[in-house]
């Protein structure tokens, strides 16, 4: 494997931090938002420019500081990290377009602060994606927690305050209480933190210690939303919708599963987990979350809350896929990061568009809304299909690999979990679409005239919905990257 030393990953991380002083000092809203685009587009270009090398099997590395003897803040771009970065960075561009429409339509306050912390969150997200060792990962993980807090509490009212409190309590509390000691313990015993394909834990720990450490990581990275450490996510829905869309459907939550996946594959390693059968424990935990979250989602009337519980369930698909540790399941799990991202962000954009256009938050008030906002609701349908995992949407492909993966691993129980969950997904999404379009005039709560949201909001959600469909036909480069990741990690 070729290793290339380049500062590109660092620049990709920092580009959005450098833009913050410019954002603060911008005199008009237009310049501020123009600079956000400059940063977002630059970030995407830099990340995309690394793709050809990584697709050829090379790895890009960069070492910053040696903060402790033999332990550096180090960046590495491999296929897994690149896939995650390639999902988040273009979505930032699209979300910025959407933010302009949403924030201006609702005349939100403190927009400069909002754009600054958004830029900071993206830096942290890409930082997690490109971390080469556990310490760097932890650093960016915590940075993301703090950068997103002012976004979650944007409205600065009583509800935002209690939600913000819950958000930090879960995310910061679990990382300090579980991840930090587990990291330190591993460091003392092994003396290394570097992610390597077969992990570095073998031979240092007893079976029981391994189990405890594994659970400390799985629950400690609470951003992954594994039950019972999930309830920060529905609470975080008080944030403005673009935040929920990019951060709480893509960046933050996927940082959580990304961390769990990195630790399972890069710290513990496939062979060790398979030989001790500890991965099955994680599979059962994830399965419980999948089913429970889907059942709770059924009962939610707030659209964003229903989406949040759906996200919790879908995140555990990824964890389940990785924890099954068969090549196809890992491919499916990792691919699901991309597929779910595009589907779920579409759904959130739609929820925000409905709120911005009509002020409606609850599903029970959305009867007949399809006649008023046909484009939005069509995109909602596409997003739903992708999340349920039906063709012709990208979500089908990742779920297909997941299903094959359960068969490959020979664990029929988890196949059953996936199928039941798909049915539940359909049960909580499709009625929304059905009621939006098919109702009698008496039932309809809206006038029959088309009244869509401003273009700034509408275009982004059409783009993400189209990408969800396109990914079904052309799943590259995500599929290739997921394959490569599965191959290096599992060797299958």
């Amino acid at each position: 494997m070729d290793i290339i030393y380049s500062a590109k990953p660092l620049i990709a991380i920092l580009v959005s931090l450098f833009v913050i002083p410019i954002l603060i000092s911008s005199r008009s809203d237009n310049t501020r938002e123009a600079w956000t685009f400059v940063a977002a587009i630059l970030k995407f270009i830099i990340i995309a420019s690394m793709a050809p090398l990584v697709l050829k099997g090379a790895q890009i590395q960069f070492t910053l500081f040696e903060v402790m003897p033999h332990l550096a803040i180090k960046l590495k771009v491999d296929s897994f990290g690149l896939l995650f970065a390639l999902v988040s960075s273009p979505l930032w561009i699209i979300t910025s377009v959407y933010s302009i429409g949403y924030m201006r339509t609702l005349k939100e306050h403190s927009q400069t602060r909002y754009y600054c912390y958004f830029a900071m969150s993206l830096s942290a997200t890409i930082g997690v994606a490109f971390s080469a060792n556990l310490l760097t990962l932890y650093l960016f993980y915590e940075m993301l927690s703090f950068a997103t807090y002012p976004l979650v509490t944007h409205h600065q009212d009583q509800e935002a305050r209690s939600s913000g409190r819950k958000y930090l309590l879960y995310i910061l509390g679990s990382s300090i209480a579980f991840v930090l000691p587990a990291m330190l313990f591993i460091y003392i015993k092994t003396g290394t933190f570097e992610f390597v394909p077969q992990g570095f834990m073998a031979g240092h720990f007893t079976h029981g210690t391994l189990l405890v450490l594994l659970l400390m990581f799985v629950f400690g990275f609470a951003k992954a939303g594994i039950m019972p450490f999930h309830s920060w996510l529905p609470a975080a829905m008080v944030a403005p919708t673009p935040v929920s869309a990019l951060l709480h459907a893509v960046a933050v939550v996927k940082v959580g599963v990304f961390c769990v996946a990195r630790v399972i594959t890069g710290v513990f390693g496939t062979k060790l987990l398979l030989s001790t059968d500890l991965n099955t424990v994680v599979c059962y935990i994830a399965s419980f979350t999948i089913i429970a979250a889907s059942l709770i989602a059924l009962s939610q009337d707030g659209l964003k809350r229903r989406l949040a519980f759906s996200t919790i369930g879908q995140l555990s698909y990824i964890v389940l896929g990785v924890a099954l540790l068969s090549p196809l399941a890992v491919t499916g799990g990792i691919l699901h990061i991309a597929m779910h991202a595009f589907g779920k962000i579409t759904l959130f954009f739609c929820a925000g568009a409905i709120f911005a256009a009509s002020g409606i938050k609850n599903i029970s008030d959305m009867v007949g809304i399809g006649k008023r906002m046909p484009i939005t609701m069509t995109c909602f349908l596409i997003g739903s299909l992708s999340v349920i995992g039906l063709p012709p949407c990208g979500g089908f492909i990742s779920k297909w690999y997941l299903v094959l993966g359960t068969l490959e691993a020979g664990k029929m129980f988890f196949l059953f979990v996936l199928l039941v969950s798909s049915l539940l997904n359909a049960a909580y999404f499709l009625p929304i679409v059905y009621r939006a379009f098919f109702c009698t005039d008496e039932e309809s709560m809206f006038e029959n005239t088309v009244n869509e949201v401003p273009t700034w909001c509408l275009v982004p959600l059409c783009i993400t919905a189209s990408i969800s469909v396109i990914l079904f036909f052309f799943p590259q480069p995500f599929l290739k990257l997921a394959h490569m990741t599965a191959q290096t990690l599992i060797g299958g």
């Binding site: 500081f65 040696e66 903060v67 402790m68 003897p69 332990l71 803040i73 609702l106 005349k107 939100e108 306050h109 403190s110 310490l135 932890y138 650093l139 915590e142 940075m143 703090f146 002012p150 509490t153 409205h155 600065q156 009212d157 009583q158 935002a160 305050r161 913000g164 409190r165 930090l168 910061l172 509390g173 300090i176 209480a177 930090l180 000691p181 330190l184 313990f185 460091y187 003392i188």
Partner: protein, 498 residues
């Protein structure tokens, strides 16, 4: 020149103190520039010595040419040189930051204040630089007496708090002196290196045992180790922020230094960690300090009081880390002296700026502070993250070594206490952030315009700039903590400790 630097370190500020006192009779306006240049020279000297130590090893200076063990020697080695830089930098940064509030709080007394200020700093420098156990006591009293008067200059309740501190502080210092007296009876010398040489033959001597107990108790009182912390919260919160800004970051930390110095270089590690079986018990006291300090901090309703209890908890970190008795723990304790001084300085400077503007430091008065004083709050936030222990701030790295040390020593109680304290610190600071960020709550009907009513009313530049410098230093110290540990601290710890 380099050979004279240790003397300059002490003599320059000592003489400046006199000059400042005299200059105040001529014109009070001369005092600040004089104090500043005196401290600047000491800072330059301390950096020079640090460079020299890193390049060529420890520097020894014999005062007046009287050789040890008869004369007094100043030994600046890997342990003391970084602390000296910390002391002089803290003093000079706080001096700049405190100017406005000194002029406002002590009209007509600025000369006295600056003179005491620099004398206090001299005492602190001396404690760290000296290689003589009795001389350490003398300088301890210089620092303490000036400290009492600086604190006494505060608000109406400060004189009583200062008197209380004086009583307890004097008891502490006397204990230490008594301990040194016993050592002198047992060995006939006061020079630290000389004392350490006698130690192996003295392992069974009960007088040495008694000296150890009483010396350490004295130092524990002076550093406010729980449950001997009673003097600290009032003394630090009723005094002027100009004085606390230098006293709070330095006093407890320098006492920790004295503990490490006396422990490693007088009683020797072999004696305290192997011969005696007290370390475990002391670590448990430290655990109590961490837990109780954190809990008491939770109970406070004003910023300065809360910060003082955080100091009580932090003292527990360092005492516990040292008495773990392994290399990681002692590294953590030593590194934390530097880091905690910087963190405490940052927080007290921010608190100084806040109370300078608001004339109040209760939590209730901090509503809307993010909008009123955005830059100060950035500095405060950086300090808060460091105290919680979030990378890449320096607080994370010292905590890292301390926790690692705790795990290696099998002291899981200490590990749990550190994690607990981190979580409590997160709660403490986010409680303030919440008040400053969310309150006052807006009128629900005026959803989109709330918060705009508060206008920016930032502290003066002379407060904000040093604060931001310290905030940046917290991150720089974090990033370079690897170098600090490998190039300096590792050499400060005797080779026998693993």
């Amino acid at each position: 020149m380099v050979q004279q630097l240790p003397a300059l370190l002490i003599i320059v500020p000592l003489l400046t103190a006199l000059v400042v006192a005299m200059a105040s009779w001529i014109s009070p306006r001369l005092c600040l520039p004089l104090t500043f240049s005196g401290l600047a020279l000491s800072l330059a000297a301390s950096i020079g010595v640090l460079m020299e130590v890193i390049a060529h090893g420890p520097v020894t200076y014999t005062m007046g040419g009287w050789n040890a063990p008869m004369g007094i020697v100043y030994v600046i080695d890997y342990l003391s040189s970084p602390i000296l830089v910390v002391i002089t930098s803290v003093a000079i940064l706080n001096l700049i930051s405190a100017r406005k509030s000194v002029e406002e709080s002590f009209p007509g007394k600025t000369g006295a204040f600056y003179s005491l200020y620099i004398l206090f700093t001299t005492g602190m420098i001396g404690i760290v630089a000296t290689g003589d156990a009795f001389n350490l006591y003398v300088l301890l009293e210089i620092a303490a007496l000036t400290g009492y008067s600086l604190i006494g200059l505060g608000n109406d309740r400060a004189p009583l708090a200062s008197l209380n501190y004086l009583f307890i502080g004097t008891i502490g210092a006397s204990f230490y002196l008594l301990g040194v007296g016993y050592l002198y009876i047992a060995t006939g010398t006061l020079n630290m290196a000389d004392l350490a040489r006698f130690m192996p033959q003295m392992a069974d001597n009960s007088m040495v045992l008694f000296a150890f107990i009483i010396c350490m108790t004295g130092l524990f009182i002076k550093m406010a180790l729980f449950p001997m912390h009673g003097w600290l919260p009032n003394a630090y919160s009723f005094s002027s922020t100009a004085a606390t800004g230098v006293i709070a970051p330095l006093t407890t930390k320098v006492m920790i230094y004295a503990m490490i110095r006396v422990g490693l270089y007088v009683f020797t590690p072999a004696y305290i960690f192997n011969t005696l079986h007290m370390s475990k018990a002391i670590v448990w006291v430290a655990i109590a300090a961490i837990v109780m300090g954190s809990l008491l901090a939770l109970a406070q309703k004003s910023l300065l009081k809360m910060l003082t209890y955080i100091i009580v908890a932090e003292v527990g970190y360092m005492v516990g880390g040292f008495f773990l008795g392994n290399r990681m723990g002692i590294t953590g304790a030593t590194l934390h002296i530097i880091n905690d001084a910087a963190m405490t300085l940052c927080l007290f400077m921010a608190a100084g700026a806040i109370s300078y503007k608001l004339k109040d430091d209760s939590f209730a008065s901090m509503k809307g502070l993010f909008r009123k004083m955005p830059v100060t709050m950035i500095g405060f936030g950086a300090g808060a993250l460091a105290v919680i222990g979030i990378p890449p701030t320096c607080g994370f790295f010292s905590k890292w070594y301390l926790i690692t040390g705790g795990m290696e020593a099998g002291q899981y109680g200490f590990v749990a206490a550190l994690l607990f304290s981190s979580l409590v610190n997160a709660v403490l600071f986010f409680r303030i952030f919440e008040i400053a960020h969310f309150e006052p709550f807006a009128d629900p009907h005026d959803h989109h315009h709330h918060g705009h009513s508060e206008t920016v009313n930032e502290a003066p530049l002379s407060m904000v700039v040093p604060l931001l410098v310290v905030a940046a230093a917290l991150i720089v110290l974090g990033i370079y903590s690897g170098d600090i540990v490998t190039k300096i601290i590792q050499s400060a710890i005797p080779a026998g400790i693993v």
